[in-house]
């Protein structure tokens, strides 16, 4: 097939679309669905700017972080996908988003969406993740502004909030 009709559940909304077989998820999200909260940078699974969460029964938290440039949209049929634009609930920021603001972890902001999605997945896997684990799990998300210091601090802070609750 050159095209495939698929159903995606993006940020809780059902979305029935026909996608080109050779289009990656990031291409479809940005170019077909106008979801510009997902950034497109290297297109080769190196920088993590397009990181989204995709459901995975076996993953802790039921979802995993994926580079949207590294999967074919056509193979995502039936999947639940969360992007950074879908993290807020009733206008309230996700704790990781809030921690990024509080800790000054945002500079140019281009990596931020992907970085936040990765951070959410790290804490869903292990809310008590320590510095070393956070740092090695953040690999695959490149930031050129912050030196990662405040990003790591933000993940630690968000983790401490979730373990307190």
């Amino acid at each position: 097939m050159k095209k495939r009709s698929i159903t995606l559940f993006i940020n809780g909304e059902e979305c029935n679309i026909t996608v080109q077989a050779h289009h990656t998820l990031v291409h479809v999200l940005r170019n077909q669905l106008n979801m510009t909260d997902v950034k497109h940078c290297c297109g080769r699974g190196e920088c993590g700017a397009c990181t989204v969460l995709v459901d995975d029964d076996k993953a802790p938290g039921g979802r995993k972080a994926v580079d949207a440039c590294m999967v074919l949209a056509a193979m995502m049929d039936g999947k639940r996908i969360t992007t950074v634009g879908g993290l807020e609930e009733d206008g309230k920021l996700h704790p990781v988003q809030q921690a990024f603001i509080d800790e000054g972890a945002v500079q140019c902001g281009f990596c931020t969406g992907g970085m936040i999605m990765k951070s959410v997945s790290i804490l869903e896997k292990n809310p008590k993740a320590k510095e070393d684990e956070i740092r090695s799990e953040l690999e695959g998300n490149i930031c050129r502004c912050t030196g990662y210091v405040k990003i790591v601090d933000a993940v630690k802070k968000a983790g401490s909030w979730s373990t307190k609750r």
């Binding site: 997902v38 940078c41 290297c42 950074v84 500079q107 140019c108 936040i116 050129r144 030196g147």
Partner: protein, 794 residues
């Protein structure tokens, strides 16, 4: 120190929320009716070739293609990407030999990735598919990669404007002997002084072609509208100068060129001047009425947007037995890349920062800048200073080692300070917090204790400590023009709009500028809004470069705030029938008479009546003073208030594999006053990541044909989160506020990158007793050096 109500506070950055929600719209995120997609066809096969023929026949057949644009379809005017010519007096530009040698689409490819022609299509995919189908016939030309090759008599010539391929040097008219520096008052040159030195240390250092690697690919949208106006949405660092450059290139008056600043996804110098704006605009002009988007691919970034200068710098430094710095003498052979662009700018700054750091009795640096078939160098955080730092900081430690002196004490004793020349002759330091920085950095890393411990280390993993210091600049004056215009307009509800064209590169610049405005007004942050940047409504500003935003724009907004408050006082005085000097500011925008508290009025009323001013129906008298209050703040600061910093690094070297791990790192920075402390820390931490990259992992590599080997994240390696030292401290030293800086502030931006360079290199030297004079100091180089020396020298 004065307590401020907004300045110095850790408030959330103004743009943070839109960035954590993904709602911030970068240029690539903008959607417009009728948007077309432009693609620049680049030469990937050759680094040097003549374009013989371009065949669009197959490309035109791709469904969705709107237009194929050849080199003859766009302006033939040559240009220069930079703003250098604008920012120096005309006579200087001539003496320096500024040239315009670049075309939108080039008839001769001078580096891989050079633009050859363009495609416009209805979708990104169609544009890219068609670009693949353009058949370009090339005639390959001999490749020039090294300075030696560029100098050869039979070398291919890059431009008739620069015979012999010497793109630039330090012209005799300004630099006697072709050198930047100073002789002693008796006229003796550094070379002559060397004879009197007890010790001369000398070496050649290789400085790498580092890339900025901002995360957002270069992206532009341009539109040529029905009024004949050309609009470009761009993430440039310099909206106003780019407006000027575009106007000049397309021969339009400024009234017909509009630059709209999109949020910037990182810059670090790579968005200084123009990169893809000419191409986006040229394509847009080929399809009037339709917006055209041009987005670079990540792999285009390394080959088509400017890098840091690379080359070999030979430095000789002479010392007396007691450590007295006698003279320093340097020759820098620099590889320009295919086009002139920044010319002698970065190498000049290498010399300038060498001049500004230590009290050499005499100093000279010469530079020869050769065209070659690499990507042209341009601006990158640090602008020439990393090269100086890598060489000189290592030589200082080598000399101290040979003279039996403590490198910490040597620096304390011989660094320049208040009253000495800064990086430019005749401009004196007005503040200096370096001693404090050295104290705090060495203390934080436990210098004395660890130094003793590590001296005794044995085994295959050796540790070392290193110190590096630097001085930098706040703004580019007096090398370049320094000017900013700020318009401050009082709204009828007594809040203000500030219009200034200086971009925020993500550094927090706009947050800090807003803080300074609020502080100067004495009003809450919410009462101040900074509008940036639409060239249609903002005044002139040079843009975010040379770490000038806080310093220069900060001065201008505080000046505007002062003027605005004075105008309010003047109006209150008229209203209350007292003298302005009789009035003072109270709480909550209240203005009162100091000798009669009964006489008072609120600025809100003045603001409201400045617009809603009516004649009293009963008396016929005009209520209030009509006329909206609009003031400007202009700043032509005649200084550059350099900041200093001291950095300490602790490394572990695996002497069997040559691997270097940075265990801890401290950067103590002489900031004067941190306006927005989290942003200053963010600059120091982020600058460190690039500094570590410079000294440990980053360089652009080319094969023998001049083709780039690592134009992707797979092979251009930067330190990731798990590579960075966990133990990292950014110390903000505020003990030396600068008399010229707003609230005492000096810059912190570019200066952050130098910290790791000297300190890490010196820590490696401390660990293994061998200096590595080529950056990046890769494991391959470390191991080869250990081999060459027959083992470590501890």
């Amino acid at each position: 120190m004065a307590e401020y109500s907004v300045v110095g506070h850790r408030i959330p950055k103004l743009d943070a929320r839109e960035k954590v929600t993904g709602r911030g719209m970068y240029a690539g995120d903008l959607r417009m009716e009728g948007l077309l997609y432009g693609k620049i066809v680049r030469c990937w096969e050759y680094a040097h070739a003549k374009v013989k023929k371009i065949d669009f026949s197959d490309a035109r057949k791709v469904p969705g293609v709107v237009k194929c644009v050849g080199s003859k379809d766009v302006t033939q005017r040559p240009y220069n990407t930079t703003i250098m010519k604008l920012l120096v007096p005309e006579v200087f530009a001539d003496v320096f030999g500024e040239i315009a040698d670049l075309n939108i689409f080039n008839p001769v490819v001078k580096h891989q990735g050079d633009a050859v022609c363009g495609i416009i299509a209805k979708t990104e995919e169609a544009a890219e598919r068609a670009a693949e189908k353009v058949k370009v016939t090339y005639e390959p030309l001999p490749i020039v990669m090294t300075a030696a090759e560029a100098k050869r008599k039979d070398a291919p010539q890059f431009t008739p404007l620069k015979p012999g391929n010497l793109a630039a040097d330090f012209p005799e008219a300004f630099f006697p002997g072709g050198a930047y520096g100073h002789n002693t008052p008796d006229g003796k040159t550094p070379a002559q002084h060397m004879k009197e030195a007890d010790l001369v240390v000398e070496d050649t250092f290789y400085c790498p072609r580092q890339k900025q690697v901002q995360m957002e690919n270069h992206t532009y949208i341009a539109k040529y509208d029905d009024r004949g106006r050309l609009t470009c949405w761009t993430s440039t660092q310099m909206p106003k100068p780019v407006q000027n450059l575009i106007a000049e290139l397309f021969e339009l008056p400024l009234t017909r060129v509009r630059i709209i600043q999109a949020p910037i996804g990182g810059a670090f110098g790579c968005r200084l001047g123009m990169i893809g704006e000419p191409h986006a605009c040229a394509l847009a002009m080929a399809v009037p009425g339709r917006p055209v988007k041009v987005e670079f691919l990540r792999e285009e970034d390394w080959v088509a947007s400017e890098s840091r200068a690379s080359g070999h710098i030979r430095v000789r430094a002479g010392f007396k037995k007691d450590g007295t710095p006698v003279a320093i003498d340097a020759d820098y052979e620099v590889l320009k890349g295919g086009y002139y662009t920044h010319g002698s700018g970065p190498p000049f700054c290498t010399a300038a920062f060498m001049y500004g750091m230590y009290k050499w009795q005499a100093m000279a640096m010469r530079a020869n800048i050769w065209f070659n078939n690499m990507v042209p160098y341009g601006a990158y955080q640090g602008y020439g200073n990393p090269e100086n730092t890598f060489a000189v900081e290592q030589l200082v430690d080598r000399a101290c080692n040979q003279l039996g002196l403590d490198p910490v004490e040597w620096r304390r004793k011989w660094h320049k300070g208040i009253g000495d020349d800064t990086w430019l002759k005749g401009v004196k330091f007005a503040s200096c917090g370096l001693d404090d920085c050295i104290d705090k950095a060495t203390k934080a890393i436990q210098w004395d204790k660890k130094k003793k411990e590590y001296a005794k280390m044995k085994g295959t993993k050796l540790r070392g400590l290193g110190l590096g210091v630097m001085q930098h600049t706040s703004g580019a004056w007096p090398m370049l023009l320094e000017y900013t215009n700020t318009i401050m307009r009082l709204n009828e509800d007594c809040t203000v709009e500030i219009m200034n064209s200086c971009s925020d590169l993500g550094t927090g610049g706009h947050t800090a500028v807003t803080q300074m405005a609020a502080e100067a007004l004495g009003w809450p942050m919410d009462d101040v809004h900074l509008k940036c940047c639409d060239s249609d409504c903002n005044g002139f500003d040079i843009g975010a470069h040379a770490s000038r935003t806080i310093y220069c724009v900060g001065r201008a907004v505080t000046q505007a705030a002062t003027r605005l408050k004075q105008e309010l006082i003047n109006r209150a005085a008229k209203n209350l029938q007292v003298q302005p000097e009789d009035l003072a500011w109270g709480e909550d925008k209240e203005i009162y008479c100091t000798w009669d508290p009964a006489k008072h009025m609120n600025a809100r009323r003045i603001a409201k009546e400045s617009i809603y001013s009516f004649d009293d129906p009963a008396t016929g008298k005009t209520i209030g003073i009509p006329g909206q209050i609009v003031v400007t703040g202009d700043d032509f600061v005649k200084h550059c208030s350099p900041p200093f910093s001291a950095s300490c690094a602790e490394v572990e070297v695996d002497i069997e594999t040559g691997e270097v791990k940075v265990l801890s790192f401290v950067n103590a920075h002489d900031i004067g006053k941190a306006i927005h402390p989290p942003s200053v820390e963010g600059q120091l931490e982020g600058g460190s990541q690039k500094g570590f990259g410079y000294v440990l992992t980053e360089d652009i590599y080319y094969d023998k044909n001049g083709l780039c080997l690592n134009n992707d994240f797979t092979d251009y390696k930067m330190l990731g989160p798990s590579d960075m030292p966990v133990d990292m401290k950014a110390i903000l030293v505020e003990s030396a506020p600068d008399p010229l800086g707003p609230f005492g502030a000096k810059s912190c931006g570019e200066s952050a990158l130098m910290g790791p360079i000297g300190s890490v290199a010196n820590a490696i030297y401390d660990a293994i007793g061998i200096q590595i004079n080529e950056a990046p100091i890769t494991p391959e180089r470390v191991l080869a050096a250990i081999r060459k020396n027959g083992g470590v020298k501890k």
